[in-house]
């Protein structure tokens, strides 16, 4: 015996906006979107929030940036790159600094100017210059010399140094 089934009522405009014409397909899309976002923001582009002013004016306090964790998959970090450096205990707090010295080089500051292997380095990104004085420091074979862009800060208040390559998490997208 055949019966005439009543046609399903067409979804209202707000149902279409919220869950689409096909709820199953919408659900699959949401699951895929969530999975892709989780992988993307955990392993590829990690979001970070800036706290502190050592990278002024390049990175402002409270600003959100992304760390490209795959940036150094095919090449080593380069001079001028702004990088995220993890601490020994983990990655919940990281330093954001600029690479100025490469492995094997010597780094010095004279009257606020940066010298690499005795030669002055042009630093157009330094808008807040200072008068730092620091004797030449040798960068180790697996180390990079990193420093912030805000050189107006007193030398002792500004965190800088020579992290090893394995502590550099990725390149900051500015």
């Amino acid at each position: 015996m055949a019966t005439n089934a009543e046609p399903a009522p067409s979804p209202t405009w707000w149902q279409r906006v919220l869950i689409g014409r096909n709820p199953k397909r919408t659900l699959v899309r949401i699951v895929v979107l969530v999975a892709v976002s989780l992988v993307l923001f955990k392993f590829v582009l990690q979001p970070i929030r800036v706290q502190g002013g050592s990278m002024l004016p390049t990175c402002r306090e409270g600003g959100i940036h992304f760390v490209n964790r795959l940036a150094y998959l095919f090449h080593e970090p380069r001079r001028g790159d702004v990088v995220a450096i993890r601490l020994l205990a983990g990655e919940h707090v990281m330093y954001m600094k600029r690479i100025v010295g490469l492995p094997g080089e010597t780094v010095a500051f004279r009257q606020g100017r940066l010298y690499i292997n005795g030669q002055p380095l042009n630093e157009p990104y330094v808008k807040l210059p200072g008068n730092w004085e620091h004797e030449p420091e040798q960068v180790g074979p697996d180390q990079y010399y990193v420093v912030g862009d805000n050189r107006e800060m007193p030398w002792h208040d500004h965190t800088k140094g020579r992290p090893t390559r394995d502590l550099i998490v990725g390149k900051i997208l500015l």
Binding site: Q51, G52, G53, E61, I85, R86, L87, L88, A89, G90, E91, H92, V93, Y95, K97, V146, H156, T159, K160, G161, R162, P163, L167
Partner: protein, 165 residues
């Protein structure tokens, strides 16, 4: 069929009970240390409306986390400062509470390495201190050495370590 299902549920419940019991009677040292450090961060933090009695009481609670002969080596710009013994450490804690109106301590990252004999451990951690009203927070990397005394994990050495100077 019902009998079969009942047996499966019973076995699953027994396994779950066994795992729970194992964790209760033989807790993972790393978990205990992490919990203990969380309690330490809480004990080291203080609010502005802390009265004198509360101040001394709360500082005395810190004693439970350290061995009597604890050694603390802190690097402040340009020099090292050493605190020897639990009493001196508690006096320093009282001094901090007198100098700063309030302080919030957090350990966002804790990396625990337990020795094979499970009686000592090394902890690398990131300590974050925030004084209300100040724009920046204080960040310090620390390395702690802990010893198991009876059933408690006590800190017997603390020193600052630096990824960057």
């Amino acid at each position: 069929m019902k009998n079969w299902l009942f047996r499966v549920i019973l076995v699953a419940a027994l396994v779950a009970l066994g795992i729970w019991g194992w964790r209760v009677f033989f807790p993972n040292p790393e978990k205990i240390i992490r919990k203990r450090l969380g309690e330490l961060a809480k004990a080291a933090s203080f609010s502005p409306n802390e009265g004198d009695v509360a101040k001394f009481w709360n500082v005395s609670l810190l004693a439970d986390f350290f061995t009597p002969d604890v050694q603390v080596k802190l690097e402040v710009p340009g020099s090292w400062h050493t605190i020897s013994g639990r009493d001196e450490l508690l006096r320093a804690a009282v001094g901090v509470r007198s100098a700063v109106s309030s302080l919030t301590i957090e350990f966002p990252d804790i990396k625990v390495t337990v020795a094979p004999d499970r009686t000592s451990a090394v902890v690398n951690l990131t300590a974050k201190g925030k004084v209300p009203g100040e724009r920046d927070f204080y960040l310090q990397e620390l390395r702690m050495r802990l010893t198991k005394v009876k059933r408690d994990w006590l800190i017997h050495q603390v020193e600052t370590v630096k990824t960057l100077s």
